[in-house]
Symmetry: C2
Subunit: 442 residues, 2 copies
């Protein structure tokens, strides 16, 4: 087969004006415009690699510029030169001697790494003619281990331990896959309880979601204490006590406040309390978790790399590990976190409240079930029902479950017409109708 060479990297600043309808709103993120720094690896073959990192609107241009710079590590290379040493590629991207000062391995430049690596993986899977979950599942344990950067995590997980987890994961894989293909992977909906929604709208959305087969519902809290409780009771009235409710404070509280507020909300019997405080506060989460037990603590969507996740696990700070497929650098770093979580016995329930995230995380969770944790117990993927129409291979939800994707790639490819329409600032959505929103981006 002719080698595939990357001939150019095209980067798009893609923004959807979701803030108009309070979609995605919570106690901290009051007006998100679901956006992405989006890149396309153009090649000398028929296929392209598409990758994105999720953002909230303003600042997407920073990730775009960072991707443009980092694309020098990808351009004019053959796909094979990258896939034969994916950890080497990761180290190049995070190790640029001048650029890394701006992180290292966090913030804008790490989000940019994520987009590029996602695009490389997309291209890799398309070249192999497989969806990413299958590409991963069909790799040998040794191949997976070779992708992971163990520099800073081997005190918690050695390559040998990772290998053993993956070898065990090969057993019973066919049966687990058959079960997934029949029933799908369990999901929960965040679309009913955004912060900016009225009581009436929340009631109506709960009602509709139950009719669609949803059994797990997330509610945003972190506002006035009485108000949070009232809204929680309202959701409980609608969904009853057999279904589950997750609460999400989006980092609103300090450690001691988080303990008090979580205990107050205990009457709602939450399945978990999410982001009770600063996403950097490992020891804070450990204390909160100890003091609010048995209420389970979740965090991760703002956790910026594998070194941080390692510590959340080591410190027994979380019950639920919520990786964000784009905040950490691509599938490489997601694999490291899946493996550490498996060793520590903590379920991974990926963050997917954004554009493209549902499309991505389904692959990670499916591989986690097929080859790493091998369990669905307390595993559930977030789902928000927005913007999927812009994807070439959108997620398929049936009866509150993600159906297993079958098309080659990582499922994050946005339709060319949508890329054109929502490109900031030249796309039609930003040029003509929405002058008011555009001015907010100044």
């Amino acid at each position: 087969m002719k080698p595939i060479t990357i001939t150019n990297v095209r980067v798009v600043d893609l923004r959807f004006p979701t803030s108009r309808e309070s979609i995605g709103s919570d106690a901290v993120n009051k007006d998100p415009d679901y956006s992405a720094a989006y890149c396309i690896l153009e090649t000398d073959a028929e296929i392209e690699g598409h990758g994105l990192t999720f953002t909230l609107g303003r600042g997407t241009e920073l990730c775009v510029t960072a991707i443009q710079y980092l694309s020098k590590f990808v351009c004019n290379r053959t796909l094979e030169s990258m896939t034969s040493d994916l950890n080497g590629l990761y180290l190049q991207l995070v190790g640029d001697t001048q650029f890394r000062w701006l992180g290292p391995e966090k913030g804008v430049i790490h989000l940019a790494c994520g987009a590029l690596l996602n695009a490389v993986w997309d291209l890799y899977a398309k070249a192999e003619g497989k969806p990413v979950w299958r590409l991963l599942t069909e790799m040998t344990p040794e191949e997976i281990v070779a992708i992971v950067d163990f520099r800073y995590i081997s005190d918690a997980l050695t390559p040998e331990e990772a290998l053993a987890i993956l070898q065990t994961g090969k057993r019973g894989q066919a049966e687990r896959l058959a079960a997934l293909e029949a029933d799908g992977y369990p999901a929960y909906t965040t679309s009913v309880g955004w912060f900016g929604f009225s009581d009436e709208k929340i009631r109506r959305l709960c009602h509709e979601a139950i009719a669609e087969g949803w059994t797990h519902f997330k509610l945003k809290v972190g506002g006035d204490a009485i108000d949070d409780l009232r809204r929680g009771r309202l959701v409980r009235e609608e969904i009853g006590w057999d279904r589950r409710i997750m609460l999400d404070a989006n980092q609103k509280w300090g450690v001691e406040e988080a303990i008090g507020r979580t205990l107050q909300l205990g009457e709602l019997k939450p399945y978990w309390m999410e982001e009770p405080t600063s996403p950097d506060d490992i020891l804070g989460h450990a204390r909160i978790r100890a003091e609010v037990a048995p209420i389970r603590i979740a965090t991760g969507e703002h956790c910026h790399n594998a070194v941080m996740f390692k510590q959340f696990l080591q410190a027994k700070a979380i019950d639920v590990c919520q990786i964000d497929s784009c905040r950490v650098a691509g599938i490489n770093e997601n694999l490291a976190i899946l493996l550490m979580a498996a060793k520590f016995g903590i379920p991974v329930c990926p963050h997917a409240g954004g554009v493209g995230l549902c499309e991505y995380v389904q692959h990670l969770s499916i591989f986690d079930y097929l080859g790493v944790s091998c369990s669905l117990e307390d595993r559930i993927i977030e789902y928000v029902d927005h913007l999927h129409e812009h994807f070439r291979d959108p997620v398929v939800i049936q009866d509150g479950h993600y159906m297993v994707p079958t098309r080659p790639g990582y499922s994050g490819e946005v339709l060319a017409a949508s890329l054109m329409r929502f490109e900031f600032t030249h796309g039609e959505a930003w040029r003509t109708e929405h002058d008011e929103i555009r001015s907010l981006h100044k």
Copy 2:
């Protein structure tokens, strides 16, 4: 007095081609071009506020763009509207509802916050006709406490505890100031032992530094183990055993490797081992510290915010707290860290290996001595002898000590001619002579 209003924020991408001489080189940062995203608050009065955030060259444009965006929180405001609520300004800068996704409070956008806050503090001090250290020292404890963001740190330091520290700090202040004005603040030199220097050059520089009165010398390690030891012995030969040597691995090692390597280097009797592993690894540092005792562990130049420093202190992970005046957001966040370090009894020895950092951190350390920790025990400020000629009010070093600065402001103001000459890419330094270096920035 007529109120001062910010009329415009000018931002400069300032880069010095230091990599040509291996200045600043270490095991990880092999070719730094000491740089800064630099901003000037233009006003309707005679004075301007100058602020910078230190960078290593490529990627400075990201900080420049971020500052340009965040300047909307400063432009067209009176100075008094900001100085009357500096914590409010901090919360505005770090809390932008869409921008914060790119952090929060870390990486590019936090470095940008730092530059802007540094500029506001510079303008504030100039308006008051005082150097920043004096402005801080003459504030009441209540005023200082009001500047600090306690949202995520009050579980480690309450406002009441901070107040008590600052009230105690008022005692004996005049005597401490008199001592500083006579002798200066102790410093150490990093300029002798950069990674890229030859053995001969290190010997010569040690020799010269001893003649200048230096007593503390930093050596970069993290290369080949035998080579590190050889270079350390060489420095010991030159400086003897009465002077002190600090070792700096610049994050080169994993946790277990760091323990082994630090123990190996123990024969050099280092005053501290700096950045033995990932800057995000609080628990890793705690383990290293426990296992290499009594060798002291230092880190902080890559520690991105007060929440991280809080945990380094809570976890007993460090013996030396090395704040970087620009990586955390301005004097506001540096104050939070100085106060926490004082409570935990850990000395602050600021990072200053960069352009403008020496100029900044002297103010922080002087205030720490005068009003917070009130001690010089195991306190020492880093010094590198490069690029000071570009500053309007450069640091003055005598006999290995920082002399107390007297001019109003934060001392970070770069001469107009230097701003012009080293502006990337239009300045003369980048336009004409150095085509080769310029091409590296592509």
